[in-house]
């Protein structure tokens, strides 16, 4: 009779079955939706886009490999960090700077905290913030859209710590134009992404499509982008209504890094609240800060600082928005 029974028995704790989604699967799905954005960036900025993103990703992966816990490259999160960082950079940035940004993002944004799941700040944005502080001129030198595919948009192969040659044609971003020169940009141009700016700023529709796909698959929580976008729309509509010289909501939505930041960085599960109510609070906070920085701040763009600032508040938001325990309904039967 015992021959009828398996030679070895698996014994696990309940539950003995699990859903099909895994953390690597989620991560690689997110990474896959970044590919169309990279393609769009390449369409607008040529081969420079690919080189910058590849350099940032290489810096991130190498750092994860060197200092992370073993075997963590396969979970896909370091690749996402590198690609996202690359998408926040200008097309003409020297590659060594992009790689350094990726290394900083993973090293100081993730590994020192204990690796995946432990960090407080979004690693890609931390890398971006580091580059902003270290190379303020290079990272705000925005090449013009268009040109030949193979034409480099800047001195990409500059050796570290040399002064890159300012030989590319540059122009201000729409937000910069508005802030420093008082000029607007046509909304069609913004939506299509046919504007100067960082690589991933320019394809709002592609980013939105990626976000909708991920939300539909349940790989990102829709509440955060919904909260951010709604807040930006409402807040900037009020500001615009009070002072018509201020940008209108559509301009706010489709300019700068709002879409990329909202869909791919504010929704980073590790650095955003774990409760659904907290996600609304977090998203609203990001939206308010974006508008405040863009309109009243010294910088033309505020998405990066808005998200990083709200990242810091996540533990408090989590604590303040704990779910109500079953059987403790106020005013209910006790």
């Amino acid at each position: 009779m015992s021959a009828a029974v398996a030679p070895a028995l698996v014994v696990t704790a309940s539950p003995h079955v699990r859903s099909q989604d895994s953390t690597p699967r989620i991560m690689w799905n997110v990474a896959a939706t970044l590919v169309p954005i990279i393609v769009a960036a390449t369409w607008f900025f040529g081969v420079s886009s690919l080189l910058v993103i590849a350099a940032a990703t290489a810096g991130a992966l190498a750092t994860e490999r060197a200092f992370g816990r073993g075997g963590t490259l396969a979970d896909g999160s370091a690749a996402i960090t590198g690609m996202l960082l690359g998408l926040t950079l200008p097309a003409g940035l020297s590659l060594w700077m992009a790689a350094l940004g990726g290394a900083f993002g993973i090293g100081f944004g993730k590994v020192v905290w204990g690796g995946l799941g432990q960090n407080v700040f979004n690693p890609a944005l931390l890398g971006r913030a580091f580059l902003q502080a270290a190379f303020p001129v290079a990272i705000t030198t925005w090449p013009t859209v268009g040109g030949r595919f193979w034409t480099l948009k800047g001195d990409l192969f500059a050796l570290p710590f040399t002064h890159p040659l300012p030989d590319a044609i540059t122009s201000a971003t729409p937000l910069g134009l508005l802030k420093f020169e008082g000029k607007g940009t046509a909304i069609e141009q913004l939506i299509l992404g046919n504007t100067s700016g960082s690589l991933g700023e320019t394809a709002a529709l592609v980013i939105l499509a990626g976000g909708i796909y991920l939300a539909w698959r349940g790989y990102l929580n829709w509440r955060i982008p919904a909260a951010v976008l709604l807040t930006v729309i409402v807040f900037s509509a009020i500001v615009h209504a009070v002072d018509a010289h201020r940008p209108d909501p559509l301009f706010m939505l489709f300019s700068g890094g709002l879409m990329l930041g909202t869909v791919y960085m504010a929704t980073d599960p590790v650095t955003s609240p774990v409760t659904n109510r907290g996600r609304w609070v977090f998203g609203a906070g990001v939206g308010v800060l974006v508008v405040v920085i863009r309109i009243w701040g010294g910088l033309p763009e505020g998405v990066m600082y808005a998200i990083l600032f709200m990242n810091a508040l996540v533990p408090f938001i989590n604590r303040a928005t704990q779910p109500r325990l079953f059987g403790t309904r106020l005013g209910g039967a006790t």
Partner: protein, 442 residues
């Protein structure tokens, strides 16, 4: 009203019920040997009342109830007591058990007996009869049924809720019971309603069992206020608090018993067992078990003598397939994986599921990425992500403050966790650690 059919949160594991939900209940022949643990129910284990060499008939007690929170254990076949020894228990421990060599001929023969006529009995006599018959909750927890028939007097019970949700994947024993024995179930409900003094009863059945809903509706007697209520198909719909929420719209207060909101919940199988006591006079010596899984050759719904070894049960179902990996007693969400197939079927064994290798959770774990899926799954609105963080570093007191006590180990959080973190296991271990700490302090 939408609240009348479900609860918030929960998960949707593949149901896998089509393997057995159309198979009629059959009777399994007696094995050569049965093993009866004296601990098969919540409460005190039964007190041994036979010795090696004794001959017992089917239905004779081998252990007697030890106090009110206990029930006797009866021989499920005629035979000779071959040993009283520590034996593998389905819960993974060893338990003092009575091993009986089953008679070669007529093992099903019971002693002459009297069948109590329920209408002539007082509530206390009904309670005693149910206790003496060894009836326990057959939904898995094996809580002594007679205790539920005598609820504390300080709460008025107004509704008897019958749990026909059967939300665990694979299991179909309650389903088949309702399809094949609806009259018996309703007779059991009648007896319980009278004993409890309630006039209203609701049977909650998940919508994925339309034939059971149909059969039960058709069998409701005109003089009995019994509502058959279809429920949302969602795990853990059959958890007591979730069922009460679905049926009444009321949340049982945290840390309180269902009776505080005026309801008593009983499982379909247990109600049928009560009915049998007053139909046949036989104690609980056999139960309906779903034997299923993608690792099993011939799934079935079987009437199995209590004490049948898993080895014999699986062999009767033509054994397991080459990719069989894990044998689980109960459903795959809350059941217990077996390390030893000598462990017997006991009163609380709802099913035996043989999982194929591809279904098991052998994959590696990843760090928690705080995606929050567990929060959206938890039916009692805990924060499993945070509790898991605490459990890993032994912060048990912080877990108490985060309401660990309200966790019923349903496994929904671990089921959805993309990082494959064994959350339920961590919580179970934390509960044990806390109990030990309390016992040490006392």
């Amino acid at each position: 009203m939408s609240f009348a059919t479900g609860f918030r949160h929960g998960v949707h594991p593949p149901e896998e019920k089509e393997l057995t939900n159309r198979l009629p209940i059959r009777r399994m022949p007696y094995p050569d040997e049965i093993v009866l643990p004296l601990r098969q129910h919540a409460g005190n284990p039964a007190k041994l009342c036979v010795a090696v060499g004794d001959h017992v008939e089917r239905g004779d007690p081998v252990g007697t109830a030890d106090g009110f929170m206990s029930v006797p254990i009866h021989a499920s076949a005629a035979g000779t007591v071959a040993g009283v020894e520590w034996w593998p228990h389905p819960d993974g421990s060893m338990a003092l058990s009575v091993r009986i060599t089953v008679d070669k001929f007529a093992p099903h023969v019971a002693r002459p007996r009297t069948v109590p006529h329920w209408e002539g009995l007082t509530t206390d006599e009904v309670v005693l009869a149910v206790q003496q018959a060894g009836v326990v909750g057959l939904g898995g927890a094996a809580f002594p049924t007679h205790v539920k028939l005598a609820p504390p007097k300080d709460h008025a019970v107004h509704t008897l809720i019958i749990n026909g949700a059967e939300c665990e994947p694979y299991l179909t024993s309650d389903h088949r019971t309702m399809v094949e024995y609806p009259v018996r179930v309703l007779f059991g409900i009648r007896v319980m309603m009278r004993a409890l003094g309630v006039t209203k009863s609701v049977v909650g059945i998940e919508r994925n069992k339309p034939d059971a809903i149909e059969a039960m509706r058709a069998a409701v007697p005109a003089d009995l206020d019994v509502t058959i209520l279809p429920l949302t198909v969602k795990y853990p719909q059959g958890a007591e608090k979730m069922l009460i929420k679905a049926v009444t719209g009321v949340e049982v207060p945290s840390g309180k018993l269902p009776v505080t909101v005026g309801v008593v919940v009983q499982n379909v199988g247990s109600v049928a067992a009560i009915a049998e006591v007053f139909e046949t006079g036989l104690p609980l010596v056999e139960r309906i078990v779903t034997v299923s899984g993608h690792g099993l050759r011939r799934p079935a719904n079987l009437i199995v003598p209590v004490g049948t070894k898993l080895r014999d049960l699986l062999a009767f179902c033509d054994g397991v397939t080459p990719d069989a990996a894990e044998v689980v007693i109960g459903g795959p969400m809350m059941g217990q994986a077996q390390a030893n197939l000598d462990a017997p079927v006991i009163k609380g064994t709802t099913g035996v599921v043989v999982l194929a290798k591809y279904e098991t959770r052998l994959a590696r774990s990843y760090p928690c990425i705080h995606c929050g899926r567990c929060l959206d799954a938890c039916p009692v609105f805990l924060n499993p992500s945070l509790l898991g963080d605490f459990a890993r570093v032994g912060r048990y007191q912080d877990m108490v403050e985060q309401h660990l006590a309200d966790c019923m180990l349903c496994g929904s959080c671990a089921y959805v966790c993309p990082s494959n973190i064994p959350l339920s296991q961590l919580f179970q271990a934390s509960k044990v650690a806390l109990r030990r700490a309390q016992a040490g302090a006392a």
